[in-house]
Symmetry: C2
Amino acid sequence: MKIKRSERLVDLTYYLITHPFEIVSLTYFSDRFQAAKSSVSEDLAIIKKRFESQKIGKLETIPGASGGARFIPRLAKEDQEVMVQDLIDEINHTERLLPGGFIYLSDILGNPKWLQVIGKVIANQYLDQDIDTVMTVATSGIAVAQSVASYLNVPFKIVTRDPKVTEGSTVSVNYVSGASGQRVEKMELSRRSLEEGTNVLVVDDFIRSGGTIEGMRSLLAEFKANLIGSAVVVENLVGKSDKPKDYQTLISVAQIDEDQKTIEFALGSLFDS
Amino acid sequence: MKIKRSERLVDLTYYLITHPFEIVSLTYFSDRFQAAKSSVSEDLAIIKKRFESQKIGKLETIPGASGGARFIPRLAKEDQEVMVQDLIDEINHTERLLPGGFIYLSDILGNPKWLQVIGKVIANQYLDQDIDTVMTVATSGIAVAQSVASYLNVPFKIVTRDPKVTEGSTVSVNYVSGASGQRVEKMELSRRSLEEGTNVLVVDDFIRSGGTIEGMRSLLAEFKANLIGSAVVVENLVGKSDKPKDYQTLISVAQIDEDQKTIEFALGSLFDS
């Protein structure tokens, strides 16, 4: 059955959005729609223009007979900034400070709307870096990892702090936890989770001492996997450190009011020019 | 600037898909597009037809001056069955059996594609039940909860087994863990997570003895929240039980080969006619 342009546009838009990074070949769609390749090409040009003007992302076109297009959820830096600033406005001036420099973020990390913002912006920093998998540590980083992974269209792996019987055999490392380096803990990952040479993006919801990120780094070394980058949603460094930071942050803490238990948040290192 | 039908269709399709359950008013879109309401109405009719024929979901139209449309990711039962059968084909005949009747599922639960299937099908059972929030227990249920919640467009809450300092004050209950009822464990939820009277859907990745689901039930009672339903991805009951099941399953275990460590999976109770 022949399908009209208006109908093709609905199908194509849906397909592209739900298959980021996958190349959509002109041949596949011209067969599916029983339409000339030139018509499908024109459809894609319309979609490309709208995706850019609506800040949905880029449609990259691949020329030639075996050509097609793929949707990359790429956003301009200033649009990312607007999205993260919205999130900051949401969490500023609310009671979020917990004992020990921790910050209550469970509501944000359990809200699909904010997870989309977080996932999209973190993914945007690594769109061209050939990430094979996203990795995080349980529990609170999982939602972040899932969202980032869905925009990169790759799987994600969960490192756990307690032995989980549902994982099968695991590889573990020790790491230093806590701001003053007072505790040594263990983290582990299922042995069959990661192959040698995998390109890994490490993400987490919160960083305080950097010990967790450090632990994931040594775990990746055990697996002979490549750490491509690390990104964290909120940073609240306890104590000053002169060590250069080898992770990016979406949001940092600008000021803390211990009496009101409120915190003022600001754009993180991702937005440093 | 006036926007053509072809362009409007791209924008509308994107907007509807990324905002399930939200009512899109004709007024809002006729202003945004500088188009007559009747034109936007026709756009929505085209989208409605394609969403149904492509099994994307239903577009419910609300008549009248204050009318509009909302996208419900509703699928026919037979389409859900095809999707889950694909997942079963993926996991059948692979080495997944772990000691104690556990099953390795981390690869599936870390794959955005399969999480979409799981989320969409579980959400479909509760589209008309006014769910306010999805709840799960850490760690492995989180990805399931996030996916289900995104299709229902509601937040999700994570119950933890170990005290988490990032949660603030919590409410905890004890529950019996393990197939032969040999261990009593504790699970807790951040006090500010749930309000009285909230309608909750409980989800989990795996059920073996039912103790975890039972624990979540008592936790909800503590919060005076309403348990609307429970759904689990894979069920592997250890030992026979005559107790009626008060949860639904996507996939059940049909046969276990202890030597080969393989399991044969089948459609779960969700698909009982």
